[in-house]
């Protein structure tokens, strides 16, 4: 739809990305590929292509992997993520499903127990609400509940549908719910590189992993090595160094935070930008040690504020990093409202660079009360 051009196709910022080719990254192919040792070698490809490449490589490397979901074989292929995979790997391994998210989620769990490694594309997180019983009561508990006797290696994927006037039932960023669930790993990539590496890591993991992606990410292009590689779950990355304030941002807000930080550099504020990449396990160490240096924290999330991701990260620091805190913690998140459809309301609803910028300034300079 024309008005879906909410963000033009664009190259992602040149992050510091220390970790991108660092020790935390692990090659999947037998011979360690170039990119592990030297500088960035890879092509500039789109976010959808990066995700697609991860799926394709997983399908070709491991016969247990399959991809399912309503529409995975559509011409549009889930924002390109699954596009044409059924042509290469056949409809037995890449298949469309009925609209029956509750049972199909359980079917994925059962397939995992039966020896497969399902990757279930759920399209929007909103539809995951129909899958909660299988995800939370079953998948997340299975390994623990049976004393380790069985495991459920599966990946659920869903993409936040911001924009399009998508309204209340097609735009929710529900990571705040899933972050609360023990036994579930929760991944939110922000770069093309990570989209590929985290997908491959999620598929290789022996536990249920939920990847929540974001429409806005799919507008990006970035440097991505061709070889298969994994980005480890549970490891965040510093996207920009700064001494004045720690900004933890997830998903496409990493870019927004980065842009805000660049602007503020001109005004003498140096913000450190942390991208946790996985929310569960959360790289607490990285966040706490950054706050220990900066003494200030701003947390940014694409979901609702109350009881969400910003709450947990703020609480973590108020509990374990209180000694270094020199200012109130600021939270930048969507207001506690269903998403309105109208574009004027959407504009007021969604947060971005300017909101983050304002929060940084307030945190560093002190709020005018």
């Amino acid at each position: 739809m024309p008005w879906s051009r909410i963000k033009p196709d664009t190259n992602e910022p040149e992050f510091l990305s220390q970790d991108m080719h660092g020790s935390a990254t692990r090659g999947l192919a037998a011979s360690e590929p170039d990119f592990q040792r030297g500088g960035p070698t890879g092509r500039r490809i789109s976010y959808g292509e990066a995700t697609n490449e991860a799926l394709s490589q997983a399908l070709s490397l491991d016969p247990r992997v399959f991809v399912m979901g309503q529409g995975v074989d559509d011409p549009s292929g889930m924002f390109g993520a699954t596009k044409n995979l059924h042509l290469t790997y056949g409809r037995e391994r890449v298949f469309d499903t009925p609209l029956a998210e509750t049972a199909l989620s359980g079917i994925a769990v059962g397939a995992a127990l039966g020896g497969m490694r399902p990757v279930y594309f759920h399209n929007r997180p909103d539809f995951l609400l129909l899958a909660m019983d299988q995800l939370v009561n079953h998948a997340a508990k299975w390994h623990y509940m049976f004393g380790g006797a069985a495991s459920v290696p599966l990946v659920f994927w869903a993409c936040v549908g911001r924009g399009w006037g998508s309204a209340a039932q097609h735009s929710q960023a529900l990571q705040g719910l899933f972050m609360h669930v023990p036994g579930l790993k929760l991944v939110m990539p922000s770069t093309c590189y990570d989209a590929k590496g985290l997908m491959l890591a999620a598929i290789a993991d022996n536990n249920p992993v939920l990847i929540i992606d974001h429409r806005m990410n799919f507008k990006q292009r970035g440097i991505v090595p061709e070889e298969p590689y994994t980005v480890p779950l549970g490891k965040g990355v510093i996207r920009r160094n700064g001494r004045d304030v720690t900004v933890v941002a997830v998903s496409h807000l990493v870019t927004e935070a980065f842009l805000a930080a660049q602007e503020l550099a001109g005004e003498g504020i140096e913000a450190e930008i942390i991208d946790p990449r996985t929310l569960r396990p959360l790289d607490e160490e990285l966040i706490l040690s950054s706050v220990a240096r900066t003494g200030r924290l701003v947390v940014c999330d694409t979901g609702w504020k109350t009881g969400g991701v910003t709450a947990e990260i703020a609480a973590l620091v108020a509990e374990k990093g209180f000694g270094s805190l020199r200012a109130p913690i600021a939270r930048v998140a969507n207001p506690d409202l269903p998403t309105p459809a109208g574009y004027t309301l959407e504009q007021a609803y969604y947060i971005g660079k300017d909101d983050i910028r304002r929060a940084i300034v307030n945190t560093v300079r002190g709020q005018e009360a």
Partner: protein, 323 residues
């Protein structure tokens, strides 16, 4: 079925109006003024029209993402609908809902869910409320063949049968859910057709024949009003345009062009119009008049929408809770 000429003309006019509204939306969609995902009803007009012709104003309907036809056939105000598509404060949902979330309390349309299958239990619950209040109102649930994949359909129908609720389930089987054909999602006819004949009035009919739809719906509605329980009507039809948006946005290649063409030939509006002309229930003048009136109504609705105020940031925090 012996309908008066007037009744037939009303059916035809309702279908024509829905069609022309949909066409206008389609033709203006690329202007990017309606910033909301539209799911057009072209090809399915006979269903909403036939079913709603069997209803009273105080009967309820529950609809889905493809709701323009249901909203209009049940008496919804075109201005309020178009204003909603333009995301204006004068929209039926004040611009908070958009195309997928129409509401019209005055005509028993208590709000539309875009979660596929989400409306099925809600419409069932409205039937429960009518029964508990000892009213003879009926609740109709419109849903697609995709929604019939969902377990809520089975759970809801089971409950409606158990309580003999005044609910009519109308499944619009248009052969597709986005780009997935029915046969990749179902295996044969729905099990309710033959599995519950002792408890359920069910019918699988040509959904492009408005008189047949009306006649079948009337049986179901009367049965519901008499307290005899729910019905399940499967209307076979076709979604002539793409799943969402306008024609030029439809991804190509997932449907057979011959299939689309065959269904275009079976266009419910053209076919019924031809039938009424042949029966002399309609003449060229009435036809022209109707087109003119409808066109004027649409112009007025679009103008109203365009001139209406947009909600502002100050409105954002309204209506989270009901006082």
């Amino acid at each position: 079925m012996s309908l008066t000429f007037e009744a037939k003309r009303n059916l035809w006019r309702s279908m024509l109006r829905i069609r022309r509204v949909q066409e206008r939306i389609e033709s203006e969609y690329l202007k990017d003024e309606m910033k909301t995902p539209v799911h057009l009803y072209i090809g399915q007009e006979a269903i909403a029209t036939g079913v709603c012709a069997a209803l009273r104003a105080d009967d309820a309907i529950n609809s889905n993402h493809r709701s323009h036809g249901h909203y209009l056939a049940k008496g919804g105000d075109l201005k309020a609908m178009m204003a909603e598509l333009f995301c204006r404060s004068t929209g039926c949902s004040k611009g908070y809902g958009g195309s997928m979330h129409l509401v019209d309390v005055a005509h028993g349309n208590m709000g539309t869910s875009a979660i596929v299958g989400g409306g099925i239990p809600i419409g069932t619950g409205q039937g429960l409320a009518f029964q508990m209040q000892k009213l003879d109102r009926v609740s109709v649930v419109f849903f697609g063949d995709g929604a019939a994949d969902e377990g809520t359909f089975y759970e809801s129908l089971n409950f409606a049968l158990l309580k003999k609720l005044p609910v009519v389930y109308v499944m619009e089987n248009n052969g597709w859910a986005v780009c997935s054909p029915t046969n990749t999602r179902h295996c044969g006819d729905n099990v309710f057709h033959k599995g519950a004949t002792d408890r359920l009035f069910s019918a699988k009919i040509d959904g492009n024949d408005p008189e047949l739809v009306l006649e079948t719906a009337q049986k179901a509605v009367e049965r519901a009003r008499r307290g005899e329980g729910p019905s399940f009507i499967e209307c076979v039809t076709y979604r002539i345009l793409g799943h969402a948006g306008c024609v030029s946005q439809d991804p190509k290649g997932y449907r057979d062009l011959a299939e689309i063409e065959a269904w275009r030939m079976r266009c419910p509006v053209c076919a019924y119009q031809a039938k009424l002309l042949a029966e002399c229930a309609l003449d060229a003048q009435a036809l022209a008049e109707a087109e003119t009136e409808i066109s004027a109504e649409i112009d007025a609705a679009f103008a109203f929408a365009r001139q209406s105020p947009l909600p502002t940031a100050a409105d954002l925090h309204h209506n989270l809770f009901c006082e």
